[in-house]
Symmetry: D3
Amino acid sequence: MLLHLSTWHDVEAYLDRSRGIILPIGSTEQHGPTGLIGTDAICADAIARRVGEIADAIVAPPIQVGMALHHTAFPGSISLRPSTMILMIRDYLTSLAKAGFRKFFFINGHGGNVATLKAAFSETYAHLADIGIPESHLVHCQVSNWYMCSSVYQLAKQLYGDQEGSHATPSEVALTQYLYPESIKHTLLDEGVSRDRQIYGSIDFRRRYPDGRMGSNPALATPEHGQQFYELAVKDLTDAYLKFLAAA
Amino acid sequence: MLLHLSTWHDVEAYLDRSRGIILPIGSTEQHGPTGLIGTDAICADAIARRVGEIADAIVAPPIQVGMALHHTAFPGSISLRPSTMILMIRDYLTSLAKAGFRKFFFINGHGGNVATLKAAFSETYAHLADIGIPESHLVHCQVSNWYMCSSVYQLAKQLYGDQEGSHATPSEVALTQYLYPESIKHTLLDEGVSRDRQIYGSIDFRRRYPDGRMGSNPALATPEHGQQFYELAVKDLTDAYLKFLAAA
Amino acid sequence: MLLHLSTWHDVEAYLDRSRGIILPIGSTEQHGPTGLIGTDAICADAIARRVGEIADAIVAPPIQVGMALHHTAFPGSISLRPSTMILMIRDYLTSLAKAGFRKFFFINGHGGNVATLKAAFSETYAHLADIGIPESHLVHCQVSNWYMCSSVYQLAKQLYGDQEGSHATPSEVALTQYLYPESIKHTLLDEGVSRDRQIYGSIDFRRRYPDGRMGSNPALATPEHGQQFYELAVKDLTDAYLKFLAAA
Amino acid sequence: MLLHLSTWHDVEAYLDRSRGIILPIGSTEQHGPTGLIGTDAICADAIARRVGEIADAIVAPPIQVGMALHHTAFPGSISLRPSTMILMIRDYLTSLAKAGFRKFFFINGHGGNVATLKAAFSETYAHLADIGIPESHLVHCQVSNWYMCSSVYQLAKQLYGDQEGSHATPSEVALTQYLYPESIKHTLLDEGVSRDRQIYGSIDFRRRYPDGRMGSNPALATPEHGQQFYELAVKDLTDAYLKFLAAA
Amino acid sequence: MLLHLSTWHDVEAYLDRSRGIILPIGSTEQHGPTGLIGTDAICADAIARRVGEIADAIVAPPIQVGMALHHTAFPGSISLRPSTMILMIRDYLTSLAKAGFRKFFFINGHGGNVATLKAAFSETYAHLADIGIPESHLVHCQVSNWYMCSSVYQLAKQLYGDQEGSHATPSEVALTQYLYPESIKHTLLDEGVSRDRQIYGSIDFRRRYPDGRMGSNPALATPEHGQQFYELAVKDLTDAYLKFLAAA
Amino acid sequence: MLLHLSTWHDVEAYLDRSRGIILPIGSTEQHGPTGLIGTDAICADAIARRVGEIADAIVAPPIQVGMALHHTAFPGSISLRPSTMILMIRDYLTSLAKAGFRKFFFINGHGGNVATLKAAFSETYAHLADIGIPESHLVHCQVSNWYMCSSVYQLAKQLYGDQEGSHATPSEVALTQYLYPESIKHTLLDEGVSRDRQIYGSIDFRRRYPDGRMGSNPALATPEHGQQFYELAVKDLTDAYLKFLAAA
Ligand code: NI
Ligand code: NI
Ligand code: NI
Ligand code: NI
Ligand code: NI
Ligand code: NI
């Protein structure tokens, strides 16, 4: 059930049977010479929608822009500062908590979001208590990264070995190829790619990773792989969501 | 050209020929018993995409959540506080301005965003100067509301007269019906609807407008109307964008 | 009844008969070669005082500095950032709401304040609810621009036609001439004046409007006109205040 | 020279001969059963205007609302939070520093402002350096409390002894009586008044000082005293301003 | 009783007998050629610990970094902005007030902290009321500067006369010598030292006070003096704390 | 070399040979019935001091209060909000970066700090670029958790198996026992302890972990273990610091 295609009557009815909501979150950032700028949001959103269908859960519209300051020396990247993102997440969750939602399950497509998201959860728990939301202690937030699902991780390792890398990876590129076959990009990639994994500021990042990739070879990606990743992630995250929902 | 389906190389090439970008912005808020919660983002996004195609402009992913605090007594609504939204817009525009963008054209689907957006533009102009963005005085922002295009406005008046109302209007519902025919909702609407137009806090709003509509009769909407609105808005906003881009 | 010339006992007694307050708000900004930097605050304050007398309403001391970032390339202009102004307005209204005020009527002299004021109202409604102000849903805010009163607007059109312009207008200059005849400035104005109406950042503004005027010819102003504007604005805004106060 | 009655041309000319500006700052807060809510702003503004005349200095419009949170349990008091006031002062000084002002002399009427003002000065020095204001190290700020001028202090002691107290004092009431003789209030004051001097939160303040006075007997005030205080303060603060302006 | 060497059970038991806590606060800033960068925190902490022992009070771990922006042109200085420090103090006191603490006694070693601390107290009183802390009106904060204790002040005057100065003073250096005899520094000091007392921005500060001292001659300090200062401060502040605790 | 026992001359000399600094960071939070509230700061500080000695690195005074909102339902815990902590860290690093430091190595004792610290690093990189710090792209930050050093982790596993748990662990308690043998607490612990690992808000936390422990048995701790942990952590973190310092 997609929030943006529902009415408030639909949501009211939903809240009678569930207090959970799935929030896909991605990023708008460079993904190397062939990866789509929307990769992280596209992947998180597609997986979240399917999880929502299977698990009968409301799915919020995707958060398209997250914490990607380190990518902003590449044109087309957009980032919130962590301090802004904390306020944004706090506002989202406050709106939803006032309506009765209590279990917030973020399906995340971007590693750079994790720290700020977790900080935002802490900020929000305290905020909701401060403003006197009833039973605010029942509010639980969780972030699950689709690319960290063990089945996904293992398949990536098996298919790509150490060419998976850590940004603009063949696994995420494959998933976007499956979802947007008409947007597959063909560019010759430099053979050498930095094996570094350090992330500091944006200028440093671009010096360290001149074409935007971090140790990855996205040329290995295929739409068929993408479908496999999609199905594995959906399965694992459906289980994770249901477990999260059921937990005290 | 959709930013999220582009690579950073694509954006780099685009910046050689244009400094403009279109940013669709909507809201996630109740739209009466039959209107979709995502109405404002859906409309803005669809129109923006087509304007981008015609005008050869990059289109950012839609901003799905805006300033809708007054709707938050209805479940499913999500809102930023104005102070948060100002920071969010500032961060978006800072990221893009650092990359070379100078002309920011917001296609807006939600009246409640306008004041905060304009405040955010002022905040951003000063911020970009403070952090020393080169030629920051060339940064121009504009917000255009699709539903205020004169052709759109006139058609709405002609089709619906004073049943257009000011929230959950038949024109915006029609546009979502055209775009998502499978999500058309059929609910009997109360005959009486408040003719009030005042907007204060969220509790007050729900007392004033118990089913969420403000003076509107969305039952008049049809997908065919929606297509007409879409085409009119696209034409007017393409002209508006090109004029904005060309202006000193 | 002027707040600053009252005691707290006076205010306590007032609150037994009314929950309304009038807040004049202006700006401290250039008004062209002959306009006073305090024009907007002077006009708003003078009108508000008289409205307060007629309507038996408390009038707060004028807010002298508002959102005028675009004027800050001209010396003598002072501006808040929108984010600061939102906090300032929130703090004002929170103080007053804690004391029992519920109806906040801003008489505004500066177009640049409107967006930020409206954003501040939204922010404040939510804030007052969050901190548990009793019956916070009864808090209503309204901004009325004296220069937009229909009688004022029509007189300006009749007296000055398109030489009214949109900043450093003869109407506002006339009003300050009526109020401060000893401060009437006589300077030869350039004949040409930009007909542009765009407002972006401060450097851009000064390039676009080199002497500070926007399409106006303040040389047409006279103190007698000023008196007329004053009386019309007072009448219209007294009606508007009483209507606002009476409304549910 | 009053900023609000000047044009930007006047200010431009002034900046050729001086980089100093006087900023009167008061408060909008209860001043006991007979003191005016605007006392602190009224006093600071009147003194500042006269100092400006004598010293040929520009005088900004008065800051009417300051840090008076502890008074907000009495109706009619308005306060900024310290965090808001710091931003407000920072914005004021940033606007003026961009135009070339370097010496900011605050004439203050309210003890509760001092700590926050000083904090704001520190914040502003760092901010101006961060945004690259030229020669920002020449920016100097000073706050002078009119009631702390030694001549004023001594006269108050001589006239009122320990009945001067520390809030709603006869000296400040006298000054407002001199300035606004038509607003002199006659109310029988309780004989007993707390000799306490502690200031904590607003509820605590009202319990501690039930009628708003802190150890003072404002019934001793006369307009003639007020004139004496006015003249002493003007003289001392003119000297102080000129010394501040001349200092390296 | 040191908070950091206690368990939460210990604190729970303590709260049954007392609602007071002592918070030492210093700074991390240059103290001239021979003064330790941690001087202010070292002094405040040592004194606070002993006061806590005598008065049976919990002592929080020292706040090592305060408001020292004016010292930041000397390497090794660390400062919060006032706006940050206000939030930090607010967060500290909010945590402790939720647990039941009501009397917050800051033992301060740095003049530059005072204004911001006082601003923070005001901010916090309002915040605690806003979030509904029970009996928040009983929350009292006080800052006591050890170097302003009258016995300390007199001894410094007697020992050093006007060579005490106002920063990197022999009295505070003496106290650190008593506490850290192994860290006594021997450097020849310039004979001349500025008698100025003005403090503005950091660049200005370093120009005005090139070696970091303000009118002081720390070469006069001895560990024996330090012990005397320590004992006097402990005595005076123990009395002050107990008086503060007992006061309504 | 301890920053607080150094002079600014010492730091100036140090900066000629190194741009690195070690910042110990802990927390002030409950650590179960027998663990010290200062455990995390105590451990981080002790290890950092020794690493600094071996590696000839400056060590900042410990950050005693971090992000521990989830512990604040236990008395004695003090926490910053994440949004405050980000500003605090940004201010620390800005002060130090202005002085020439470029490599910031945090030795951390508290898992709850990690997310917010990482968010703060991102915020700071962007901030330093915005304010024009020279060569700000050379600023690198790293957080290393002493308890996650592989040698430490393995020893804890070997000594305690799954009784190590995740909060108030025998390893951290052992380390404080080694450092503060006089503060060893003897309390009978409940046999059952939750094996849960979820962390949400503070009320939820206390319900989930009634005595504050998370799956741990700190009764297994001994001072001798503590010494082993200390030595292992010092060795690993010295290596890590030197590697960090040397890296491009
Ligand atoms: Ni990605
Ligand atoms: Ni809509
Ligand atoms: Ni005007
Ligand atoms: Ni006063
Ligand atoms: Ni000191
Ligand atoms: Ni710990």
